[in-house]
């Protein structure tokens, strides 16, 4: 018997069973939801995100402030680019890293940041498909650890908790929102979901099919710790400050 089979059969015995019982549907867990149920839940979540986009943006702004995001509202792409350049200038940034989120090329960001005399790099391998090259990965890591600001869009946001959801992938490195001392996330209406329920309902199919990237991050405010005498301090491992730039109606 393999270790696994032995282990699991030990568990079966401890449960007082002679063989593995397949669970019958349990209303508390979504495990037994049919594909149709799951699809329906996902469709409803998406429809709500679109129909109530403006309301959810307001909720998001409020919740984000509570979790420690510095929230900025801008009405047009030019202002957004200018604001982000200002934030970078405020940190005396010399090196800025950004993801390939569409929103970041929809606003004239690169020009605005470069105008302040800062280098802005995109977190995308120069030679896609060759990321197993360890020296190149070493370079990427160094770049992230030495960058002053990391800029990303959002894959989703969650109004209930003030959370930004990112799926690291090609063009969105894991470290861009983590290693630099400041992180700026740019959000547009329509990208905000109501709560964690809607997020997992929408993502379930991707999780189950294995098409999902290697990881997912839910980010709610800056890195923080209360481990020394219970005093809350930001920036123990990740960003000390995080900015949420909301583009669109304000």
């Amino acid at each position: 018997m393999t270790d696994r089979a032995k282990f699991i059969s030990g568990v079966t015995t401890s449960l007082g069973h002679s063989e593995v019982h397949t669970p019958s549907p349990e209303p508390a867990t979504a495990f037994s939801d049919s594909d149709e149920d799951a699809k329906l839940k996902a469709a409803v979540a998406l429809a709500v995100a679109t129909d109530r986009a403006n309301e959810l943006i307001e909720q998001m702004a409020k919740a984000a402030e509570n979790t420690g995001w510095q929230v900025h509202r801008v009405s047009n792409p030019e202002d957004a680019a200018e604001l982000i350049a200002d934030i970078c200038r405020g940190y005396d940034a010399t090196s800025v890293l950004r993801s390939t989120h569409g929103v970041l090329t929809d606003i004239p960001l690169d020009v605005a940041v470069r105008d302040t005399g800062v280098t802005i790099d995109v977190t995308e391998s120069t030679d896609p498909g060759d990321t197993t090259d360890s020296s190149e990965r070493e370079e990427a890591k160094k770049a992230a650890f030495s960058a002053d600001v990391g800029i990303t869009g959002v894959d989703y946001a969650i109004a209930e908790t003030g959370t930004v959801v990112l799926h690291p992938r090609k063009g969105l490195s894991r470290l861009v929102s983590l290693a630099p001392p400041a992180h700026i996330a740019v959000l547009r209406p329509g990208e905000v979901l109501e709560s964690l329920d809607e997020l997992f309902a929408m993502e379930r199919a991707d999780f189950l099919s294995g098409t999902l990237s290697g990881s997912m991050n839910l980010i709610s405010g800056p890195s923080k710790t209360g481990d020394i005498e219970g005093t809350i301090v930001t920036g123990i491992h990740g960003p000390l400050e995080v900015h949420l730039v909301i583009l669109g109606n304000s």
Partner: protein, 484 residues
């Protein structure tokens, strides 16, 4: 980790003497506890969430064998590796072997109570591998050579001065004490360097999702994210009970976990891992290993009275709420899990005979049951363990009571079971107690009952029993009534 549950009384007594630590901790626990209360009050469907959380865990544990198989299948489908470890030694050996074959030099550890069961960091260091705890609290504890004091705030008993002495080589006692912010930045700089050179990470698992083969790690600091971004190998370790069936159950479980742990609506970071990095990703581990450990949990599972304790999601709310934990501190409990939940699982996992003082160290006030996000009835299990330790009926080897104690309670029971025996006992007790009492109280009883009066006084048995007094009263009332 070697259990030291036998020393509960002496270690508790030690903490009780330390007034400054007690005072500063009171503030912290109250902060956590009140934060939780407020978070619960702000969540309109809080009780429904708890009920749902309990139902999810009850269901999963009742089908644990099925979900373990499903989880393992799906982790492998995502190109991850699964290792099943019967005990801590097996898990430790597997991880050390892995580190050796991959020629690992530096391991970063994220907070994990399961890895404490393995005493993993020390074992890696003994093998010549640098192993650094990266949760700030755990890092401080590691520098001090201690074990965690609290499930989610491991170094909460350390003062800023002690932390400064540990973190800053140039600090000498007498120097102005740096603020928490300054110390945190010092730790940030030190740990940054470690993150940059780390080639393997070991993290815990808050929830493992069976249907998708993914794990969720909850942190405020971001060390969990570093661990899943920088090193080329990621090893996640979990107790076998940490499973939930569906990805959609996560929203319920995360809500109750985080609110109960810190009173936050959400932690800064929730990281989900679905195997190693995808081929076109620039960063992330090349290998993902999941170690699923039993280490005595099957004993809890096979025991209908104790099975419920496997529902625990390690939020620490019962610790913050417990009047005993708040006074005796985390180290008194002598093993990985302190507080009320520790008093339930440690005796079963490490042996009741040595740990029988743990279930006794409770006032049975029920606060732990009231705050538990998955409604674990801890007081019921504490009573069950007390009974087992006293009677030894379920397992004679577990009996911890002395012959003297059993004889005493046996005669007590005989005395209580008959009216005439009871009356006789009451009279003779008063007669025997009177010489050693003063103003109706006994301050110091002789052996074999001297233990009773070390921390409290015992009242002298009344001259007349309640029955006698009632009879006398009735007589006088009747007499008055019959007066013409």
């Amino acid at each position: 980790m070697k259990p030291e549950t036998k020393e509960f009384r002496s270690k508790a007594a030690q903490t009780l003497k330390n007034k400054t630590v007690l005072q500063s901790l009171e503030h912290v626990y109250t902060g956590f506890h009140e934060g939780r209360l407020k978070a619960a009050a702000d969540t309109p469907d809080w009780e429904d969430l708890r009920t749902k959380g309990k139902a999810i865990k009850d269901h999963t544990i009742a089908h644990l064998d099925y979900y373990l198989g499903l989880l393992a299948d799906n982790v492998e489908k995502n190109d991850g590796h699964v290792f099943f470890a019967d005990d801590a030694a097996e898990a430790r050996k597997h991880i050390i072997d892995l580190a050796h074959t991959r020629e690992i030099k530096t391991v970063i550890k994220s907070k994990s109570m399961v890895s404490e069961e393995m005493a993993l960091a020390d074992a890696l260091i003994e093998e010549g591998i640098e192993a650094v705890e990266t949760d700030l609290g755990e890092y401080i504890i590691q520098l001090a050579g201690e074990t965690p004091y609290h499930l989610i705030a491991p170094a909460i008993h350390k003062s800023r001065q002690e932390v400064a002495a540990l973190l800053d080589d140039n600090f000498t006692v007498g120097d102005p004490i740096p603020g928490a912010g300054e110390l945190t930045m010092l730790a940030r700089a030190k740990l940054r360097a470690v993150f940059e050179r780390a080639d393997m990470s070991v993290t815990g698992v808050n929830f493992a999702v069976a249907e998708s083969g993914s794990i969720a790690i909850v942190t405020n600091e971001g060390n969990g994210r570093m661990s899943t971004s920088v090193p080329r190998i990621h090893v996640a370790v979990m107790g076998m009970e940490k499973i939930i069936p569906s990805i959609q159950d996560l929203s319920t479980m995360l809500r109750i976990l985080i609110r109960s742990a810190t009173g936050q609506r959400i932690s800064s970071y929730i990281t989900m891992v679905n195997g190693p990095r995808k081929p076109d990703e620039e960063e992330g581990p090349d290998e993902f290993h999941l170690v699923i450990m039993n280490n005595g949990r099957d004993k809890l599972l096979a025991d209908p009275q104790m099975r419920e304790s496997l529902n625990c999601i390690r939020c620490g709310a019962c610790l913050n709420a417990c009047p005993v934990y708040r006074k005796v501190g985390g180290h008194a409990y002598g093993w990985v899990y302190p507080g009320p939940i520790g008093s339930v699982v440690s005796p079963v996992l490490t042996g009741l005979k040595d740990a029988h003082d743990l279930p006794n160290g409770s006032s049975l006030c029920g606060a732990c049951h009231e705050v538990c996000p998955v409604k674990i009835n801890i007081p019921r299990m504490l009573l069950e363990l007390r009974w087992r330790a006293a009677e030894g009926k379920s397992d004679p080897a577990e009996r911890a009571s002395s012959m003297k104690e059993r004889m005493l309670w046996k005669s007590w029971r005989i005395g209580m079971m008959g009216r005439r025996r009871f009356d006789f006992g009451a009279r003779i007790s008063r007669f025997l107690m009177r010489p050693i009492s003063k103003h109706g109280w006994i301050k110091k009883a002789p052996p074999p009952v001297s233990g009773w009066t070390t921390t409290r006084d015992f009242p002298l048995v009344a001259a007349k029993t309640l029955k006698q007094r009632l009879a006398a009263r009735k007589k006088s009332v009747d007499a008055n009534r019959n007066r013409p």
